[in-house]
Symmetry: C2
Subunit: 148 residues, 2 copies
Amino acid sequence: MPTDLADDIRAAGLRVTRGRLEVLELLENAPHSDAESIHGLLRDVDPDISIQSVHNILSALAAAGLVRRIEPARSPARYERRLGDNHHHVVCTECGAIEDVDCVVGHAPCLTPSSTSGFAIATAEVNFWGVCPDCAMVAETPAASPVA
Amino acid sequence: MPTDLADDIRAAGLRVTRGRLEVLELLENAPHSDAESIHGLLRDVDPDISIQSVHNILSALAAAGLVRRIEPARSPARYERRLGDNHHHVVCTECGAIEDVDCVVGHAPCLTPSSTSGFAIATAEVNFWGVCPDCAMVAETPAASPVA
DNA sequence: CGGGTAATCGTGAATGACTCAAAACAACGC
DNA sequence: GCGTTGTTTTGAGTCATTCACGATTACCCG
């Protein structure tokens, strides 16, 4: 039932266009993609699409709440389709790879900070930084290590 | 004892220069500053300093572990001198203001995610997003509200 | 305390990611 | 099908940051 996407878009008050459908579909299969790689993948299907249109589409979808925009430090903005559940992310400090993390342990224990400096807290964002399996493997390979 | 800063710099294996001392001193008084505002403040003392040098200094200090670089979404990188303690931040979604938050509540309850996808987690970053007192006040002022 | 050397700074150009503007185009309601 | 209005395209422009390289200066040494 891929046509549900069209309904989602319409329900958000947006017009259904080819690009938007393709972006949404693509994000199902390749979550945490940035604008550039989305553009690259999109060109396979629609060679004439421009990078600006991708930005356009993504910000429209993000504003409509159909995708979530995440911006890890030292990385271009990435987008994902998992919404609603307030899950978090692990980011690889080596290659920038991102995976989802369900914050299973205690819903929001540290999400209620003690001193909020008077801020009206709306959301809490948690990012874990570490090394992904692939990069860890490369680092452990003796031949590949420059420092012996 | 402001000269301690010089020792800190030396201890990190860096040469002690005027700019570096000034940046460190400045960050004590104005934490969470971005490169541009640091540059502006620095010019009061050293009018000839360039923005590139500020970037240079900041990345050297950050690489040496003397300052911490934080990069909230939709905001230029900011720098702070509080190190060691793993505190977090509240960011105002309206004006971008940042305040420190001591994660007093439970040291790392959600900092041990269940499924790490094989990542070797090194650090956890927590950002709270909300509205700061100043912006909240503006929003509540009827006259200032454009949507009535 | 002066000299040599390599780190650091200044100048200027360049990059990456994204935004803005206006004209061409296409979705949707009729 | 037709018109309205939201989208995309094209192209330029912005912002924060990085790169390159000659000029400068901090620090080690004698």
